[in-house]
């Protein structure tokens, strides 16, 4: 469908000529084999609202766009007329250090948000991949998380409220700026992780936490994955309060400068209390014949682990790569990783890491040609499904997209989800076709 010239004109009137991108600049907004016909870059909520109202009227397919860093997640859009670039809505609006809450616009980059919160010694404990590019809105729409979820939880636990633009341009709020709220439905949760298909997050209010005085990290090498899992279970079932407990295989281990398999564990707090917890950690590891060694470049390791498996550091070499995330029971991480390795070795290269506390595995599969890669991906998914889990493909290379549902089998309650989509976006203009079950 070609967007009518009159609609383009109206959009230009809303945001101004310099905020409406057409022509060459559109390539940066490519998704698969599609580029939009125009990109709108609103500078305030009213411009978002009016742009959406026009898109609604013309039934244009709209893709909300933040940093673009994780846009490969999801199926390709079934319609893609407009990209709505939110990176100009990039302010930290309120930060109340004493309340430990803050409100920021969706288009702020995660690293910039952390920098500003850091002025008061606080941070938002969402250690996602590519924080220099990824925006708050994108992180929430995709519900990305990182290893720190072991201690702090995910966006589900941290976000207190949102302001959202709906398909027809209506703006609503959900939640409040307080840490406890039982007022009506918790609709905030619906926008988190629904990939912008129900509404576009304009701003979010969230809990912030004090930056710890120190965070120290250790490498706990294990004989094999199974031994690492047993040790992880011991730590997570104990009184220790680790920030991160990451199980890494040999290849993923290299990314953060260790030779796996084993565990990367970190503890934060006051210097003396961290030392106190470490003594207990060392004793527990000793029960399994493991000697922890302190990470020399802990900061570097955290960045690498958060980014994994995304190729931020440019470490992905030649060939074709699939990036994915999966879930299993916490105690099944090593089993899953070992089983996937056994199934795909020979046809594909594989690297995997898991946040053990939540059974959240992430990995990459690489091969020289599409066919073995597709087979490997199917085998990895089958393995996880066999363990009661799932696999979501985060990025597929050219040539392996056909016939693959990146989301896997339909989730329970899909009918309700589809009805929600119809109720929130009857014309299906928001990120059409990108989410589960064609939502």
């Amino acid at each position: 469908m070609t967007v009518a010239a009159s609609v383009i004109q109206d959009l230009r009137a809303v945001v101004g000529a310099e905020s409406l991108l057409m022509g060459e600049g559109l390539e940066a907004y490519r998704l698969g084999d599609r580029i939009p016909q125009a990109v709108v870059m609103p500078t305030d909520d009213a411009e978002v609202s009016k742009s959406l109202a026009l898109a609604w009227e013309g039934a244009l397919g709209v893709v909300p766009w933040g940093g673009g860093s994780h846009q490969s997640i999801g199926s390709p859009p079934s319609r893609y007329d407009l990209a709505l670039d939110l990176t100009r809505l990039n302010r930290l609006l309120v930060h109340e250090p004493a309340d430990m809450t803050a409100t920021a616009q969706a288009g702020i980059r995660m690293a910039e948000l952390q920098r500003q919160l850091g002025k008061h010694g606080q941070f938002l404990p969402l250690d996602v991949s590519m924080p220099g590019l990824a925006t708050l809105g994108g992180v929430l729409a995709t519900r990305l998380s990182g290893p720190l979820r072991c201690r702090y939880g995910t966006a589900r636990d941290l976000i207190l409220g949102v302001r959202v633009a709906h398909a027809d341009g209506t703006i609503t709020k959900a939640g409040a700026r307080v840490v406890k709220n039982a007022t009506g439905y918790d609709v905030t949760k619906l926008y988190l992780g629904s990939h912008g298909t129900l509404g576009i997050i304009l701003e979010a209010t969230f809990r912030v936490y004090p930056r710890p005085d120190v965070e120290r990290g250790w490498w706990l090498p294990a004989h094999d994955l199974g031994a690492a899992q047993v040790l992880a279970n011991r730590i997570l079932g104990s009184h220790l309060v680790p920030n991160r407990v990451e199980l890494v295989d040999e290849v993923a281990g290299r990314v953060c400068g260790v030779s796996g398999p084993g565990l990367v564990v970190s503890i934060s707090g006051l210097p003396e209390t961290v030392q106190g917890q470490f003594v207990d950690l060392e004793r527990m590891a000793g029960e399994f014949g493991v000697t922890p060694s302190e990470l020399r470049n802990a900061e570097g390791a955290w960045t690498a682990l958060s980014d994994f498996p995304w190729p931020n550091a440019g470490w992905i070499g030649q060939g074709l790569w699939v990036l994915w995330r999966g879930g299993v029971l916490p105690a099944d991480c090593a089993r899953a990783i070992r089983a996937i390795r056994e199934r795909v070795s020979g046809s594909a290269e594989v690297a995997m890491a898991a946040t053990v506390s939540h059974g959240a595995i992430r990995g990459r599969l690489g091969a020289e040609a599409p066919e073995p890669l597709v087979r490997a991906l199917a085998a990895a998914r089958e393995t996880l499904v066999g363990l009661g889990g799932y696999l979501v493909a985060l990025r597929l290379p050219e040539g392996v997209r056909d016939g693959i549902d990146v989301w896997g089998r339909p989730p329970d309650g899909l009918g309700v989800m589809q009805r929600l989509k119809a109720a929130f976006d009857a014309k299906g203009i928001l990120n059409p076709g990108r989410f589960v079950g064609g939502i």
Partner: protein
């Protein structure tokens, strides 16, 4: 008031159908017995017995019951222990009540993954009791935890004193088996985290039983902390105590609980249970730390320093488990102790940003003076969650009305200060009209939309949460319904 007057033959037909599903012993239909179910723990507001009560013992029975209701277009609502404080389990106008207290089993204790799956009628405290020998506990601890059910906790997104550090029910629920309002059974969430799809579990939790009936719940269990420390800090004024609350948080210390009791409450508590709170104090803070031993020792030093900086009169640390239990007894018996200072009271629940706590408490005092009612305050201070108790003397003409007006004004002020009208009790029947003060018609339309998706026929716990279409904005409407105030 009787049920909604289901046509007698419909009622008879349904009773027979239910008896076939759950057996005759699982159906209650005599008026005397039905009266037991005419309200939850919000006793003064609105009472109405259901037309029939059914007590199923399995998910499939619940589904069958709901399907019958759906076929006949008869409203129904779930009920657990009936300990809710906002009327969520009170029939608005009769209908079928599905009571889950015969579904009490712990179905699965997965120690390796620190998760449990329980039936909805399982009592909150039973779960913690069942797992403590394994070094685990279930974190949400509402005041009614010895009676309330986990299914009810999910419906109300229950909190408790210890949610300052650990979060409320929604942060601990991983999955639920839900009977949708048309009788379809779906599994929302599960033991595996982050499975793809909309977060239906997230919106279901706290929906006060209006989006379906949960029959099984999977929750996360936490390892018990290595050590616990309970501190009583005594202050001359409420302001000083509030400053200490902010100061502790500003230091980066997150206690498991930080509870405040004002002078009125202290007086009532000491007259009742003698918890050892000093009668000359303006306010006390009950602060509990838990975690690795070294950690809480260091935090306790920080807490004490902050309290002294704020001019506290004394800091006492419980030295034994008995001392700790006694300090907590004072807090837990606070509501029950109000009988010592007033015959009746009206318990409120609201939240303000933590930094507005001192201001709102000062204003509550002024509001009390203006309406000539005594107001005592207990608060989950760390969360900014206040629970004003408005004392009522029914022998004084107009006192009840003034109490309700004072409550209404407190709600308004909390919203104006950036807060909400309920932190943990829910909207239920009681606070529906306040919703308009917090949310615009467009905001509420989104909630209506969600409701319409789950329950297009509007049969599942109707008349809750949402303001009546034609009702006036504000609290006066709610207040008119409040014909009497609860016994203290």
């Amino acid at each position: 008031m009787n049920g909604n007057g289901l046509a007698p033959d419909t009622r008879t037909h349904l009773i027979r159908a239910f008896e076939r599903i759950v057996g005759p012993e699982g159906v209650i239909s005599s008026p005397d017995e039905l009266r037991v179910y005419d309200c939850d723990a919000l006793t003064f507001f609105h009472r109405c017995p259901p037309d029939v009560v059914v007590l199923p013992t399995s998910t499939s029975q619940v589904a069958e019951i709901v399907r019958r209701c759906y076929e006949f277009g008869v409203p129904f609502l779930p009920r657990g222990a009936g300990t809710g404080l906002s009327g969520g389990a009170t029939p608005r106008a009769g209908g079928v009540m599905i009571v889950l207290t015969r579904m009490t089993r712990i179905l699965d204790l997965d120690l390796a993954n620190r998760m449990a799956t329980v039936e909805a009628g399982c009592v909150n405290l039973w779960l913690t009791k069942a797992v403590e020998c394994h070094g685990l506990f279930y974190a949400p601890d509402p005041a009614s935890q010895a009676a309330c059910t986990i299914g009810g906790n999910v419906a109300e997104n229950a909190g408790g004193p210890h949610c300052l550090k650990y979060g409320v029910t929604t942060n601990h629920v991983l999955g639920a088996t839900v009977v949708l309002p048309d009788g379809e059974v779906v599994r929302l969430g599960g033991k595996v985290s982050d499975s793809p799809g909309c977060d239906l579990l997230g919106v279901f939790t706290g929906a006060e039983g209006t989006l379906g009936i949960c029959t099984e719940v999977t929750v996360r269990l936490l390892p018990q902390p290595e050590a616990v420390k309970t501190i009583l800090a005594i202050f001359r004024t409420i302001e000083d105590a509030c400053s200490a609350v902010s100061g502790v948080i500003a230091r980066g210390i997150i206690p498991v609980a930080m509870e405040m009791l004002d002078r009125e409450t202290i007086t009532a508590v000491e007259a009742n249970v003698k918890a050892g709170y000093p009668l000359d104090a303006g306010a006390v803070l009950l602060i509990e730390l838990d975690g690795p031993r070294g950690e809480i020792e260091a935090e306790a030093v920080g807490v004490e320093a902050v309290c002294r900086e704020q001019g506290c009169l004394d800091v006492r640390v419980a030295q034994t488990e008995e001392e700790r239990a006694l300090l907590w007894k004072g807090r837990k018996e606070a509501a029950g102790s109000f009988g010592r200072i007033a015959h009746h009271y009206y318990l409120q629940d609201a939240v303000v940003p933590r930094t507005k706590l001192a201001q709102v408490l000062r204003e509550i005092e002024e509001i009390g003076a203006r309406y000539r009612v005594k107001i005592a305050n207990v608060a989950h201070a760390g969360d900014g969650n206040v629970h004003p108790m408005i004392c009522v003397d029914r022998d004084v003409p107009g006192c009840e009305e003034r109490a309700i007006q004072a409550g209404s004004e407190i709600m308004r002020r909390c919203i104006e200060l950036g807060g909400t009208v309920t932190g943990e009790h829910g909207i239920g029947l009681e606070k529906r009209e306040y919703l308009r003060l917090m949310y615009s018609p467009a905001d509420l339309a989104v909630m209506h939309r969600v409701r319409g998706v789950f329950d297009p026929a509007g049969l599942c716990n109707p008349g809750k949460i949402f303001p009546d279409e034609d009702g006036p904005a504000g609290a006066e409407h709610s207040a008119r319904h409040a014909s009497a105030v609860s016994a203290g």
